[in-house]
Each structure stands twice: as structure tokens, then as C-alpha cells.
């Protein structure tokens, strides 16, 4: 029943996102409208893929660091991506894909640094150090970014922050194709780690006794979740809230078993971001709202409602 409802929501979200928009496209022309085929359809699919990826990455990271506040962007990736993007603009790297590639590279660099910090105590990845290291590296990268923006001459640098705030304006079939080819690999890695992630909730020691290769699982989950987030930030900037709230909503409804939780977080994240983007494009048309505003405006009330029901029950 829950799955049918979620599946239905996903279909409705995708259809609504393609049918509704600020430009008036008559229903009869939907099938052969350039706006629908080349803008709305790829944007809806990208929203779904990015939202889903953020949902799963968030669920995986929350289990890994055993902290309900964990968010895919907490681990320094947004700072790294921002630094990459701003550097690309400051160094006049041109080309239509310069910004996404630079942001991806920046996120990967931050990922590498945080990962290295996480191993600082020895061969075991320490989740607490991952969290602290992520926050520290993120702050450091953000400081360098701000320094570049305030010192460099290029006026367009000030606008680079707009891109970082996140949005799906860059969606095209190219971006959809890139994400659709890339995301399944880390998604599969995370799904394969569903059982050990359940065990990890009992504590690392207990998980080890119950047969989980704790160190390998932690590394795999961290890297897969971060690689998913890096791709998301490269194509759509930092879209907040999806990766934080969707895993909690999924957990409140589906329980703590990751075999169900992760797919639910994927579909839930996809639904939330697709709906949010449809609203962002239409509610103040012809203007557009930043999609992160809408994800928070929808996500928080849903979360509060579920939390209330859950704590009362």
C-alpha cells in the first residue's frame, strides 16, 4: 500500500512537471512541443534523479555517522564544489561544461581531503572525524571562495554564488544522460550495503560480531554517498533539505531496514524535488523561485506532521 502510494506519487510528480509550466502549452500540442521535449522533460527527469540521489546519499550518510543531522552537503562537498566553480570562472576556463566539471572536481578534492582526515587515526575510518573534517574542509573551501570572489575583478564572480544556491535550470538531455549513466553505480553500491548498514546501527563492535566487514562497509558507503552528492552538486548546485529530511521521512514510514529505506528515500527524494521544482517554476510565474526555498517549504511541514504522528503513536 505504502509502495503503491509512493509509486503513484512519483508518476504524478513527473507528469505534473511535464504538463505544468510558466509557458502556456496547450494540451493538444504537448506531444510535439519543443518546450516540453527539450526543457520540461529533461528537467523533470533530472530533478527526480538528483532528488533521489540526495535522498539515498543522505540516508546512507546518516547511518554511517549515526547522526540524524547528517546531510550530504555537510561533509565539505558543497564548499569544494563552490571553490571549483569559482576558480573556473576566475581563471576564465570557458566552455559550456566548464562549471559542472570544475564543481565536480572541487567536490572530489574535498571528498579526498575529508576521507584522508577520516583515516587520520589509523586504518579505521572514524565517522566522528569524518563529520568534523567535513565541516572544517567545507568552511576552509568557503573561505577561499569568498576571498577569490572579493579579490578578483571579474564581475560575473558575484553571480557564481547564484549557481551554488542550486537549481535545475541547467537541465538538458545531455545532463540527464550523464547522471543516468553515472548515478546507478554508487546507488547500487549503497543498496548492496543495505544489510551491513542495518547492523551498523547496533554499533560498530556489534556489527563486527554479527559478521559485517565494518571497515569496508564504512568506506564504501562514504565514497558512494559522496560520489552521488558530487554529481548532484555538479549538475544542480547545492539543493538543500532533500538529503536531510527525506531519509527521516522514509525512516518514519518504512522503518530502519535499509533494504526498504534506501529505495523509499530514492523515490521520496525524487518526488519531493520534482514537485518542488514544478512549484518553483509556476507559483510566481513569469518569475521563478530558487528550488531550495520550495524544498524546505514543503519538506518541513511534512516532516513535522510525520514526527508528531510518530512521537504520539
Amino acid at each position: 500500500m505504502k509502495w503503491t502510494l509512493l509509486g503513484l506519487l512519483a508518476v504524478v510528480a513527473l507528469i505534473a512537471s511535464v504538463v505544468i509550466g510558466p509557458a502556456a502549452v496547450p494540451l493538444a500540442e504537448l506531444a510535439h512541443s519543443d518546450i516540453v521535449w527539450n526543457l520540461r522533460a529533461p528537467r523533470a527527469l533530472l530533478a527526480f534523479l538528483v532528488g533521489g540521489s540526495l535522498g539515498v546519499a543522505g540516508a546512507g550518510l546518516q547511518a554511517l555517522v549515526r547522526n540524524p543531522l547528517a546531510d550530504p552537503f555537510l561533509l565539505g562537498l558543497s564548499g569544494g564544489a563552490g571553490l571549483g566553480a569559482v576558480l573556473a570562472i576566475a581563471l576564465h576556463v570557458s566552455g559550456p561544461w566548464a562549471l559542472p566539471i570544475a564543481a565536480f572536481a572541487g567536490a572530489l578534492a574535498a571528498l579526498g581531503l575529508v576521507y584522508r582526515l577520516g583515516l587520520i587515526g589509523g586504518a579505521a575510518l572514524d565517522p566522528r572525524i569524518l563529520l568534523l573534517g567535513g565541516v572544517a574542509i567545507g568552511a576552509f573551501a568557503a573561505a577561499i571562495t569568498t576571498a577569490i570572489v572579493s579579490l578578483a575583478d571579474a564581475a560575473e564572480l558575484r553571480n557564481a554564488f547564484l549557481w551554488l544556491w542550486g537549481g535545475l535550470s541547467g537541465a538538458s538531455w545531455d545532463t540527464v544522460l550523464v547522471v543516468a549513466l553515472y548515478a546507478p553505480i554508487p546507488l547500487a553500491v549503497l543498496l548492496a550495503a543495505a544489510r551491513p548498514l542495518d547492523l551498523l546501527a547496533l554499533g560498530e563492535e556489534s556489527a563486527g560480531y554479527l559478521g559485517a566487514d565494518v571497515e569496508a562497509v564504512k568506506r564504501r558507503v562514504y565514497l558512494a554517498a559522496s560520489l552521488l552528492t558530487a554529481a548532484a552538486v555538479a549538475v544542480s548546485g547545492v539543493i538543500g533539505f532533500v538529503g536531510l529530511v527525506v531519509p527521516h521521512i522514509a525512516r518514519l514510514t518504512w522503518g530502519h531496514r535499509h533494504r526498504a529505506l534506501l529505495p523509499a528515500a530514492f523515490l521520496g527524494g525524487g518526488v519531493l524535488l520534482t514537485f518542488a521544482d514544478t512549484l518553483a517554476r509556476t507559483v510566481v510565474a513569469p518569475r521563478e523561485l530558487p528550488v531550495g526555498v520550495v524544498t524546505a517549504l514543503i519538506g518541513v511541514p511534512v516532516f513535522a506532521f510525520l514526527l508528531r504522528r510518530w512521537t504520539i503513536a
Binding site: I35, L39, R40, P96, L162, G167, S169, P286
Partner: protein
Amino acid sequence: MLRRLGFVVLLLASCRPSGRPAVGPSQRIVSLLPSFTEILFAIGAGDRVVGRTQWCDYPAAALAVPSVGDGLPPNIEAVAARRPDRVVLYNAGPNVTAAKQFERLGIRTVLIDLNRLEDLGPAARTLGRLTGQEEQAESLATVMDSLAGRPPPSSTTSIAFVVWDNPPIIIGHGSYLDQLAAQAGARNVFGDITAPSAQVALETIVARDPRWIAVLVDSAAPPAFMKRREWRAVRAVREGHFLLLKGSLFGRPGPRSGEAIRQLTALLAR
């Protein structure tokens, strides 16, 4: 007791507004907006400009004036180091705070609105009064007023100003660029948006179908987004109808606004 009284007198004397010269024409001016720098030079007060922003690149003589940085927000010390008797600031939030700081240092300031064509005349008159160049300022202001008051020609083409591509930010009705377009005979397809600029969905640009996409650039290189696939949905992009407008001429209202309108008209007639 007498000593104490003397101290109080001294204290009172030091409280009197002092150190300020009597109000006369400003002799050392720091201009914190390229438009003000252009106006000051145009009304013959250029030789009294002792500080400018790094963006003030016109007229050529302005480049010889020391720069005090980007002016966003003003670097108080760098400006004060030029020992100005008047700082000219654009009237906006952070500048209001900066102006108060200058006043506390005993430096007179003036905050001037300059957002649209009709602000040019009053701005020129204000600067003329402060520099004692009333006559030249009045003749410039008259030209500017007639420019602002001129009914725009009926539009023969349409345009969208794209300030940023991801997310797409466009120029709306309440802006100088919208006025430039109207005076050059082009209808801003986002003229219904009252804000000076706004974020819109790409499909809205496609649906509004402007004949021209105008971009303010400092370099001659076209912006990279023109090659991105999603932008190919916009007809003007597919057809290569781009206007690369130099920000230093088109991006600021000033004495050269008439020149900007003439150049834009010529570009649109291509």
C-alpha cells in the same frame, strides 16, 4: 575649582563642530560610482576627483586618478587616505552606513539615486551644485532630461537582457536597461516584470521568444552558455541573434547614455 572650570570650557570647545571648512565648492572628491565619475568629468570637475573605484574607466583621464578599490562596500580607510572633502556615493543600503562613517571622520558625503534615465538630470545638478559647476551641470542635465522625457519610438523588434544563465536572471521593467531598449526601439519581453531583475525559467524565455538576446560583457568572447544544449531551445540563440554589449558603456546610466542608445539602435538595425 578654576582649573576644573577651565577643563570644562576646554571640553566644550572641543565639542564644537570644528575642523570642517566652510561649505564651498568641493575641492577633493572621491567618486564611488563610475556614473558619478563620468558626470564629474563631463561637468568640468574632473580635475578635483582624487579617488575613484576600480570600475571607473571613463573618460581616459579618470584612469590617472588613484583607485580606492571596488567600492562594494567602500573601503573607508582607503577613501579617507585620499583626504577628500566630499565623498559621492550611490544611495543604497551598505553605502548609507559607509556615509555615516565618513561623516564621523569629518568628511562630507552625498548619497545620490541613480537607477534610471530620469535620475541623471537631478544627479548632474546635485554634483554641479557641490562643485560650483552649476552652469555646465545644468546644460548636461537639460540634455539628460530631454533624453529621459523623450517618448520612446514604437518598437520594431524585441529583446531579452540575460544577466546570468544558471539560473536565468533577466532584466525587468524597473531598470535602466529596459529604458535603453525602449529608446532604441526594442520591446523588453520581460517588461511585465516590475522588478529591475528577476530569475525566470528557461521555458519562459523560449515562450516569450525575443528576437535578440542581449548580454553585458567586458570581454569580446561570447558567454559559454550559448553553446549549452538547453539554451538551443531559445530561437534567438539558435539563430545567433546575440548582442554583446560592453558593460562600461551600456551597464551604467551617465553622460554617454545617449551614445549607448544610438549604438544599440544601430546594432538592432543590423
